[in-house]
Amino acid sequence: MGAGGAAGAALPGERVRISRLTRMLESQKVLAAALLAPGVVILLLFIAYPFVMALWFSLTSIRVGDPGEFIGLANFAKAWNDTIFQTAFKNTVFYTFWATIFKLALGMWLALLLNRHFRFKRLIRASMLLPFIIPTVLSAFAWRWMFDPTFSVINWLLYHSGVITDRLPFLSDGDWAMWCAVLVNTWRGMPFFAITLLAGLQTISPDLHEAAALDGANAWHRFWHVTWPLLIPVTLVVVVFSVIQTFSDFQLIYVLTGGGPANSTHLIATYAYQVGVASGLLGEGAALSLFMFPVLFAVVWVQLRFMKRMEGA
């Protein structure tokens, strides 16, 4: 009781002081405050405060070097009616939706495959993570060159093996470019899904599978009725994080297509960057970025409610 580490030879006054601090930290409230302080301070200083500033920007006509004046929601109205923004919003939803589905499906499949024992298991597991490890900017450049209209290695392969007679317009056609972006994002994010789902799989006891098999269930049934229900919490978590990252993605599109051709692959983040930074219209750029919020917020809220329900059950 008290002064777990206090030296016995302390002076009476000193012991009291040490005790008091320790005693204070015994209180859950005080300890919580002390523990949360460093994190909260950093977040307040470097997120909350600049966020409020950015919010203020979005309500003014601020441009580079010119503080502008308060204009209420005019920036948001302008963005709402901006055809390029509408395209960017649709693209972002499209991109997030398909990339997440592919990452989940492929990640799950890969996790199931990696869950077995086979030679070189450790090496293969580690190497599967490489797309996730390499900085996005650099791998996006590599992909960009792999899709390049003049030098594409994929075109070379398909052409010289007779599969195509003219090159595929990977990044020069709006629709193709969007799918290429989904592909690269899937390539990059699938390992994260796979490893996390693998972690979840390893908590499922093999006995459950054996019992099901003995009952006559085939592989698909086993997966759907035994594995999947137990994986739902993990899946939910990883999907939410992935959706947040993908929806606010900037680097990949910035490097891969720059938003082109003709604005057809712009995401909200890249368009906001182009308006805010390249054109110096900081207020409008901030307003555009803020449009991401309602969607992300909704996604997170749904997940938190779901998780709470699961915890309660």
Partner: protein, 435 residues
Amino acid sequence: MKRRKFLKSVGAGVAATGLGGILAAHRAPVFAQASTVHILRWNDFVPAADKVLREVYVPEVQKALGIKLNVETVNANDIPARATAGIQSGSGPDIIMLLNNYPQLYAAGAVDVSDVAGEVGKAQGGIYNLPKSMCTVGGKWVAMPWATVPALLAYRKSWFDEIGVKEFPKTWAQYHAAGKKLKAAKRPIGQTLGHTFGDAPTFAYPLLWSYGGQEVDAKGKVVLDSKATVESVRFMTEFWKDAHDEGGLAWDDSNNNRSFLSGDICASLNGASIYVAALNGADKFKTEKGAPLHTDILHAPLPAGPKGEYPYHTAFTHMVMKYSKNAKAAKEFLRWAHTKANYEKWVVVQKGFAVAPTRDWEKHPMWDKDPVMLPFKTASRRGRHMGFAGAPDKKAAEAWNKYIIVDMYAQAASGKMKPEESVKWAAGELRKIYT
């Protein structure tokens, strides 16, 4: 007794060295006040020029003015981000290199450099009109023009000869016809219509002007949706399919360089960097017959449309930032760099890719060395600015940065929109800016 003597002698010794020290190091106060000038520029397409900055300018300006020059180069696309962050936060490089009419966007954060511009202009035969219009706001110079990169068509002489075109096409119709034949022989024209800061607008705006189209009239009213504009977009749509490498929709400013050097395209609008690269890599870049590629490259201006030919050339300018604590030293540096002796070292290495912003340099003997580069000598004399017929101001800069004119052509060429729709869209976007 001994101690006092000792102390005295020590004291005397210190005094002696102290005074002597100061006298000996009479240059010390100058070094103590030496300033640093941090200059942010793009990664030059001609790497040798950046070498001149780092290996020649840095030591020499240190000797001449005691200024420590800190040269930082970044990808040109990242400069707006740095400039914006710098102006907003009030700290960053002392001099930032800007392109096109960015100086108009950042004018509020600039130091007046009219004195430097006036001196240099007077000493060197006057600054060309195009860079002048980019750098002046209400008569005040907010940036100092450093160089212009004129854009001309680089083309494969032998390929045009083979299809019977001995002189480079002077009108769009002729160019179209030639391009059609060449594309059929798998030698299309290469042009980017992507979101690039250089080649794409440099092609799109002159195309618009050559048909008589323009963004706004002299009063600032949007007049883009005119018959002339629609005609130019219709032309481009056909021209694209018939004669161009359609991958150009995804190209950036470097794709056409690589394509040309790989022998994939017959012509491209570019600065002289294609030719300069072929020259410097004469053993790497060869024609299909095995000769060095540079022997087959010539330059020509863009063809004329029904209403003439109006080129656009990219101006590269230096802005001294208001937040800088070394503004005085920065201006000193600019004055020093623009002197004939120093500027020459930089511009000669460019071999004509970037040319001086002042007229006197047309007389420089470097132009006599290579006839292939001759068209670049006087290219900067002519040119129109974006936002014609209005001023190349903030609104024009915004339209430029949103790639409205480029997209107008790209959307039609890719088949996404009909020419009339695309023009209507572009005019609508312009109206949002020019309200």
